[in-house]
Homo-oligomer: 300 residues x 2
């Protein structure tokens, strides 16, 4: 089955012409959702993918990611966890393309990890379905890593951590990261993981203290300034993992969906907890997830 897809996030537009899980053609631009105004989305889509629409008059069209947010083409209301392929395919939101043809925006997911608490995703649900995992714990690690629990082939619940964005804030805008120097000494990452232990269990001292303490170690001469940046990365990653293990329990294994460099850091950190993890390529998972949703949608 051939179908047309836009993976449309905050900063990038990526179009694919797919045959099952094979990429026949692709296009990419920086016309992400944050660069566009209301009303521009259809024209941008047709500019990049219009020739595929003409060549493949029967191909279904799917759109995934922040294109379904309030700032996107049309707001696609979140489906609620637990949700699997059937629930997600049922909640697709149509948009008009040209000549009466429709595209379908994949809804994001909402979950309530605790009474009154909230978490959301847009796009990772498709990656997760693409892994084919029926039961297990997945970590989709980007700017806002998400830990996702799968039960009986459906996304049961998940928790998002602002780890990557926090690291960028500390490096670019905070006095905490200011004493950091390059070239970095990557040994700092393990020191940061060690420090994160002080914030787990009963003796927890607070992440806000550990962050200040990282700077204090440098200005008091107790730590070399070239360790600071990897230390902050280790501290934040360690605190995220401690939180995820407390929230979801100790898993038998974890699947990491991330670019290879970031995935290696998670594999390393989890190994220190004695937890085996497996790496999967996010791009492949995305395409497999899209194919799964398109098939489910075709079933009606």
């Amino acid at each position: 089955m051939r179908f047309i897809v836009a993976d449309w996030g905050t900063t990038r537009f990526r179009g694919y012409l797919l045959e099952n899980e094979t990429v026949l053609d692709q296009v990419s631009s920086n016309e992400g959702v944050s660069a566009l105004q209301k009303g521009q989305h259809c024209d941008v889509f047709l500019k990049h993918c219009g020739h595929w629409l003409k060549a493949e008059p029967d191909a279904p069209v799917l759109l995934v990611g922040m294109v379904g947010s309030r700032e996107g083409w049309v707001e696609a209301p979140y489906a609620t966890c637990p949700a699997g392929p059937a629930e997600i395919a049922k909640a697709l939101v149509p948009v008009d393309l040209e000549n009466g043809r429709k595209g379908y925006i994949i809804p994001g997911l909402f979950c309530e990890p605790a009474p009154g608490a909230a978490d959301v995703m847009r796009g990772e649900e498709t990656l997760v379905l693409g892994t084919g995992i029926e039961n297990g714990l997945i970590c989709a690690a980007g700017t806002h890593p998400k830990w996702i629990e799968i039960k009986d082939g459906r996304i049961a619940r998940f928790a998002t951590y602002m780890t990557g964005e926090m690291y960028a804030l500390l490096r670019e805008h905070s006095m905490i990261g200011r004493p950091a120097t390059t070239p970095e000494d990557s040994k700092g990452f393990d020191l940061g993981l060690d420090a994160a232990k002080r914030n787990s269990g009963n003796g927890r001292v607070g992440l806000l203290h550990l962050l200040f303490s990282a700077r204090a170690s440098v200005v008091s001469g107790k730590m070399n300034s070239n360790l600071l940046a990897p230390y902050l990365s280790g501290l934040l990653t360690g605190d995220e993992i401690n939180g995820a293990l407390a929230q979801f329990g100790r898993p038998s294994s974890v699947t990491i969906l991330a670019e290879q460099g970031r995935a290696d850091l998670y594999l390393h950190a989890l190994k220190r907890h004695g937890i085996e993890a497996e790496f999967k390529e996010p791009q492949q998972a995305l395409i497999a997830g899209l194919a799964r949703i398109v098939r489910q949608h075709a079933l009606g």
Copy 2:
């Protein structure tokens, strides 16, 4: 006894002519440490306080705050905890004023809250001595709140939290604070304190998750956008207090040194833990602390 003081921080210069704990004259400018280059400090001091030096040829001169940091006039090495008035007076660092007269920079303090960990302060040690508290827990709450344990009249140990700076980062530079609207609904502060409970005890979920979850509550329509800013403030303050109570144990009382608005938030939050707190005016404490150090220095 008359003496001359500069309370010289990152952003402000404040000069005082004091007689014991009474302010006879004062001056203030925005020539903080971050606005100056090496070599400018003496001239700035003489411009603002030179007439007092001439009028009071025998008055001791003290300088307190970031003026003793690496970026300040002269780096005054940290004294190490535990430290009281005697240890601090012994570690004063002289600087040349004019005609052979000297001023003395009050050193900051270093402590090792856990093996290999580090924390530092510059200025708060003087506030703390000014409270006259011999045994107890003090919270000096500014941009980087410090919880300080006093034993037998000496600063035993302390922990700093980047709470205020983190709030500013989230509001000014992060996607977490972006959906916040005004006028704020202050009820959000208590909701944030409630959320912080999810990060204490055994079920801790991680501050990085709770921060993302705050945004998710708004974008999923579960929380009004005018609650978000006070919610973030409550969440950060609550996580700080949870950390401090875990670190120092549950105190019989706490003394809050902060401007009144901020102090009220701490008094309120601590009351929910069943902990009574007392407010003290930081400016008065600073002057009392300076008087105490000057007397100790005069003793030799």
